[in-house]
Structure formats: C-alpha cells, structure tokens
Subunit: 105 residues, 2 copies
C-alpha cells in the first residue's frame, strides 16, 4: 500500500504556497499586502510563490484600485481550490494515521 505522503504534490504542499491557497480558500480574493502580512512574508518571497501558482493555473492575479490606491488582487482558480482540497484530504489521512498510531503506542 502506498504511504500517505507519496501522493503529496510539492507544488501545493510547500509551506508558503499552502498558506496562500489556505488564505484564498477563505476569501473570494485577497490583496497582495493582506497575504504578505497574514503569512509574514517578504515582497520577494510572496511574489516568487504567487508566480509559481499562477504559472500552474492555481491562482489568478489582477491589478485594480481601491480608495485611489493601486492593489494587486489574487484569487484561487477552480483548479487551485480543487488542488487545495486534495492536499487537505491527504494531510487529514496522515494526521488520522499518526494519531491512531500514537493511541496504539
């Protein structure tokens, strides 16, 4: 039987990208500054990981204005929401297995 971690997709599992998709799972869209502050990242680090997610089709990025200030908006695509849901299912299988093991041990 395959180990639960074997099915993990590195693209979604990586800490920063997992955080981005988690925040976007809770909102229709989030702006760059909100993501940066919530996830305690630098501009460069957030930009790099957003680019990876956008290239894979998991987020979409758009520019706009609010209160006359320029904003960069980020949304999860349908594919991105699905990939996050799959990752959460995989993590749940791992957590469940390990907690069962602890109870036996």
């Amino acid at each position: 039987m395959s180990h639960p971690t074997n099915g993990i997709d590195d693209l979604v599992h990586q800490r920063v990208r997992l955080g981005i998709l988690a925040v976007l799972a809770e909102a229709d869209r989030a702006d760059f500054t909100h993501l940066r502050e919530t996830l305690a990242l630098t501009d460069g680090n957030l930009s790099r990981h957003l680019q990876a997610l956008e290239q894979a089709g998991l987020v979409s990025i758009s520019k706009g204005f609010r209160d006359r200030k320029p904003r960069t908006w980020v949304s999860a695509t349908r594919l991105g929401r699905r990939a996050f849901a799959v990752e959460i299912d995989t993590l749940k299988a791992l957590v469940d297995r390990y907690q069962t093991e602890q109870q036996r041990g």
Copy 2:
C-alpha cells in the same frame, strides 16, 4: 493572529522528509531499502534527505548486518519524534480550520 502555516518548519514539512519521519514514527528503526520502497524514492533522493535529517539531529543512522547482508538502519531521535509530533499538530490545526470553513461555505 498568526496563520497556521506560519509555524511550519520546512525541514520537517518537506514531502520526503515528512514521509521518512512518518515511517519512523511507526517503528523503532527501519532499513534503507524499506524506506526507499515505502516512499517510492530513488537511492540518491532518500540519501540526500536522510543526510539533512541526520545533520539536524532528527534521525540517527547506523550500519549493521542481518542474514549476512549489510543493512543501513535509520531511527528517529527523541528530537525527531518531537518535531514530527509538532508538525502533525500544526497540520491538524490547518485541516480542522479548513474543514470548518468548508462547512460554513
């Protein structure tokens, strides 16, 4: 409030290293071949990640023989077991939060 992913330690979170520590959480020790097959890895990939975990003090590696064949045995150290337990707690918080969000949504 800090996001659940902010506390993730990349050393333990990375897919292959998480898999190694998960297998070792279920056994006193595992041999190299067992880890490689269970986690569907190449020799080189497993070696590289074992080295990272050993350097951080999370696993210990010893050479021995069984049935006259040389074996490389790997065990999680106390620190390694603790780091894995912390990771599982963090993942559980993330899974719980997202599942709650799905139910609200």
